[in-house]
């Protein structure tokens, strides 16, 4: 195990993080919020100092890292970043409890959007900006940025990228990991800026546009209003709904469009199944909720917005879907688990995995009737190799087991209904955000115990990093020298 390289990379991540903290610092200065200025500058300076110290102390010539180090680096980096990121909330006094601040930051970085704040509007601008900015960084990946783009020694960064990028198959767009990461970030920044401009055109104030663009791009879901997006006009709601959907698409599609390979881009099966799912679910909810809305335009907007928000695991809301019919709620809960496309910023199981699993199930059924049948799974015109198939099936198993265990532990919270607990875990584990039951605290997690908050933070990290890195980090086996 190359400990030096692990600490070196963590140090670099801290340095990058301190640079990122400068943005909310500037925002606080603009709005003359002195407490936040102090909070951000203290955190940035100490993060920078610790980072420099760590990377200097652990400077080593042996820069080779393997799968094991890659996984550990990723999970440690995410935990460290969340710990440091929560410090400003505590120092400024906006969220005095450290557990709450940690929950909020993890929720930010993992692009969950689950909150413990019952009154968001009370927060300073600097803090609101930082909360949403964590979404934006976490969406594409903290390490993708720190290692692939900033660091100059990328020799085996692929192990880190693989551990951090969501989806069963990590495709490179160009030969080098570094260039791939750059292209992804350029697309990401481009789409975010486009969204900001469209929001500004719709009359949203500048600060609000920036913050909501971050929340949408990372498919996070932190708003700055207590009623999320509901207070904005219809045009803005439509723009956000459509962009949530766009950020749930595999970024490879955008790259293919950029290099003018339209045929390949629009030939993606995943893309069409994704769009078809959104359309079908919107239609079903429309039928189900037909009687509760007076106006068809409102009905379609509310249904589409909710489907898009839940499937991409963003978690913005414009209507209180806890009051909706059972069919609609069930559809939304199923969508929570499905999630967006692989290679997007969305969470959940990922559509690719679901498609591969369904195809594989079909094959297995066929083999019961024809035990000697030769079967393969084809996806996007290519054969899915056996390792990936095994990987996907195993992932589903681990996913279900982890979910069940977390739900079981959370159920010790006697005071909440089954629906509240179930949706709380589903929401955190799949990085969505809101709970479906108001009893627990108006859609927030404020009334959960300290232990539950920590467990839910852990499950958010599990969901964002796709279980393996974090799981392997806490298993002693990984750390044993002779294994």
């Amino acid at each position: 195990m190359n400990f030096k390289m692990i600490f070196h990379t963590i140090g670099q991540v801290l340095i990058v993080l301190s640079a990122m903290l400068l943005l909310p610092l500037i925002v606080s200065l603009i709005y003359v919020e002195w407490m936040s200025v102090i909070a951000f500058s203290v955190t940035a300076v100490s993060s920078f100092a610790v980072g420099m110290l760590l990377s200097a102390l652990s400077a080593t010539k042996r820069s080779a890292i393997y799968a094991r180090e890659g996984l550990i680096i990723v999970s440690l980096a995410w935990i460290v970043v969340s710990l440091v990121g929560s410090v400003p909330f505590v120092i400024s006094g906006d969220i005095p409890s450290f557990t709450d601040a940690f929950f909020e930051t993890v929720s930010g970085f993992t692009t969950t959007g689950a909150t413990i704040l019952t009154d968001v509007e009370h927060l300073t601008h600097g803090m609101l900006f930082w909360r949403s900015f964590t979404h934006w960084i976490g969406g594409m990946g903290v390490l993708v940025f720190a290692v692939a783009i900033v660091s100059r020694t990328p020799d085996r960064s692929m192990h880190i990228l693989k551990a951090e990028m969501p989806g069963p198959i990590v495709d490179k767009l160009v030969p080098r990991a570094k260039d791939t990461a750059k292209i992804l970030y350029i697309i990401y920044i481009g789409l975010t800026v486009l969204l900001m401009i469209l929001l500004l055109c719709g009359g949203m104030p500048f600060f609000d546009s920036v913050v909501h663009a971050f929340g949408t791009a990372g498919t996070g879901g932190f708003g700055i209003k207590n009623n999320s997006i509901a207070g904005y006009n219809h045009y803005l709601q439509w723009v956000i709904a459509i962009f949530m959907m766009l950020f749930g698409v595999n970024f490879n599609v955008y790259y293919l469009i950029l290099i003018k390979k339209f045929k390949t881009a629009f030939g993606s099966r995943e893309l069409w199944i994704y769009i078809a799912t959104i359309v079908a679910c919107t239609a079903l909810i429309c039928v189900n909720m037909y009687s509760s809305f007076s106006n068809i335009a409102d009905l379609i907007r509310a249904s589409f917005f909710s489907v898009s928000s839940v499937m991409t695991t963003t978690g913005f809301t414009i209507a209180d879907f806890t009051q909706w019919g059972h069919l609609s709620k069930t559809i939304l809960i199923i969508l929570m688990f499905v999630g967006g496309c692989a290679g997007s910023t969305a969470g959940g199981l990922k559509l690719t995995r679901v498609i591969i699993l369904i195809k594989k199930m079909g094959n297995e059924l066929k083999r019961i009737i024809h035990p000697r049948a030769a079967t393969i799974v084809k996806f996007e015109g290519k054969r899915v190799d056996d390792d990936t198939l095994h990987g996907v099936s195993t992932y589903l198993a681990i996913y279900i087991v982890s979910f069940a265990i977390i739900l079981f532990i959370i159920s010790f919270e006697q005071s909440f209904s089954f629906e509240a607990n179930f949706t709380a875990v589903a929401s955190c584990f799949n990085n969505i955000g809101p709970i479906f039951d108001n009893a627990a605290g108006g859609g927030t997690f404020v009334n959960y115990s300290v232990f539950s908050k920590l467990l839910l933070s852990f499950s958010m990290l599990l969901g964002r990093l796709e279980i393996y890195p974090l799981l392997l980090t806490i298993v002693p086996y990984t750390w044993m020298k002779n294994k």
């Binding site: 960064s157 490179k172 030969p175 080098r176 570094k178 190799d385 390792d387």
Partner: protein
């Protein structure tokens, strides 16, 4: 540069690894998904599963935009065809591995290269045979690299216990001999040095000496390193490398004895070289080897298809007091272990190929300035020896070497002017159209002006 490598076998992977180290954008193509996965896991490259001759795959790989297209699959035909296809699609340079003896006759090779517009044909077996042949010509060296077609030779020597060079400084050495030579690298333990004048040699060091090709024999003698000429050689295995090696040895009147287990191969070999002695038997059979004179032969070369076998037989040959033992070992880990255990002449076909492609890629990249003509990576890749062709626009023409401000750990080790060879001292100058040999430690040199302090 954009480089496409077709075929990810032993050779392909070494090439990919070297080119990635040189900071090129590499795309690998192989029919075996397993191999592609391995390569993409190990190196920062993109992989495509499929045949290198398929138009579809080549389009996917954007072969038309490639600066360098390298085909090193097991089959000559596939290599030639995919290079041809890539060239037609617009690839700038193509390199094919062509290794069958039938394809390697000078005329037939030229014909194919011209017909298919292949920029370079590489033949690992031929290169290996060449390297071994050079070693057999200078048996006391552990490695021989040649520059400007043998004008300069760089030989690596192990200073054995009680060597007359023990305790001498580089300056002392200069005084003892009238012959011109230069000690340009010394490896001691895990460290590698580019020695200055007051550097003291010790027994156990491995030194790299550069000298004019005509004088190496004499210099070795003055250095007190005696060696006898090789008159006969025993070769294990009758593969392609053995074929090329036997051809060269027989041409310079060295007797060849080949041991090979496969009857058919033995007969084929007999057919090609009636004057060679071919023994059909197991190379691992010690009695047979003794019977065939392992302890009297001047040189022993182990060229079977298995690294492990080569290493074991070589150690056995060394235990039989054999003067010169050479083993072909492809695996890097194995060869470094064997080297530590005392097997000093190891030839790795993989590395030879990788070196020649790195050299080719560097020359392409720097087609403007003074081009890299030859490149060798020495001392486990920590030192590079390069040969440059000096163009008239080089900024330090006719400036004495001592005034050129050459950077630390870099030396100019030799100058070839026409047919003359010069081991430069501080007063010598570089002229246009000279060939210059540069030794550099710890960095990659792309063109001649980058050796200077600016």
């Amino acid at each position: 540069m954009n480089i496409i490598v077709v075929g990810c076998g032993k050779i392909g992977r070494t090439i990919i690894s070297s080119l990635v180290n040189e900071n090129h954008d590499v795309l690998a193509i192989d029919e075996n998904p397993e191999k592609i996965r391995e390569v993409t896991n190990l190196y920062d490259v993109m992989g495509i599963v499929g045949s290198g001759t398929s138009y579809e795959k080549l389009t996917d790989a954007e072969a038309g935009k490639a600066d360098l297209f390298i085909a090193v699959t097991n089959s000559d035909e596939i290599n030639m065809l995919s290079c041809f296809a890539a060239k037609r699609m617009g690839a700038k340079n193509t390199v094919a591995r062509i290794r069958d003896a039938e394809n390697n006759g000078a005329i037939s090779l030229e014909f194919m290269k011209n017909l298919l517009d292949i920029s370079m044909a590489i033949n690992p077996e031929l290169m290996t045979a060449n390297a071994i042949y050079n070693l057999l010509k200078l048996p006391s060296a552990t490695k021989v690299e040649t520059f400007s077609s043998h004008r300069f030779e760089m030989i690596e020597l192990n200073l054995k216990e009680g060597s007359p060079l023990d305790g001498m400084t580089i300056v002392d050495l200069r005084k003892t001999s009238n012959e011109k030579f230069l000690i340009c690298t010394v490896s001691r333990g895990d460290e590698v040095y580019v020695p200055q004048g007051n550097f003291k040699l010790k027994s156990g060091d491995k030194i790299g000496v550069i000298a004019s090709g005509r004088n190496t024999q004499k210099i070795l003698k003055t250095l007190g390193i005696v060696h006898k000429q090789v008159h006969d050689a025993m070769i294990m295995g009758a593969g392609k490398t053995s074929y090329y090696l036997a051809k060269m040895l027989l041409e310079s009147h060295i007797a060849v004895k080949v041991v090979e287990i496969n009857n058919e191969k033995c007969e084929e070999f007999c057919e090609s070289f009636p004057s060679a002695q071919v023994i059909c038997g197991n190379c691992m059979d010690q009695d047979l080897l003794i019977e065939e004179g392992i302890n009297t032969t001047d040189a022993f070369v182990s060229l079977t298809g298995h690294d492990e076998e080569n290493i074991l037989i070589s150690f056995y040959a060394m235990s039989q007091n054999n003067d010169k033992v050479i083993a072909k070992v492809n695996g890097e880990e194995l060869s470094s272990i064997a080297e530590k255990l005392g097997l000093d002449s190891i030839v790795s076909p993989k590395m030879l190929i990788a070196d020649s492609l790195v050299q080719y890629a560097r020359a392409l990249e720097n087609s403007e300035g003074s081009k890299v003509e030859t490149l060798y990576r020495l001392m486990n890749g920590r030192v590079e020896a390069l040969e440059f062709n000096v163009l008239p626009d080089f900024e330090f023409i006719d400036v004495p070497v001592r005034d050129m401000h050459i950077r630390k750990d870099i030396i100019i080790a030799g100058i070839v002017r026409g047919t003359d060879t010069i081991i430069p001292s501080g007063a010598d100058v570089i002229k246009a159209h000279d060939k210059v040999i540069v030794i550099a430690k710890g960095e990659k040199i792309y063109d001649l002006s980058s050796i200077l302090n600016h």
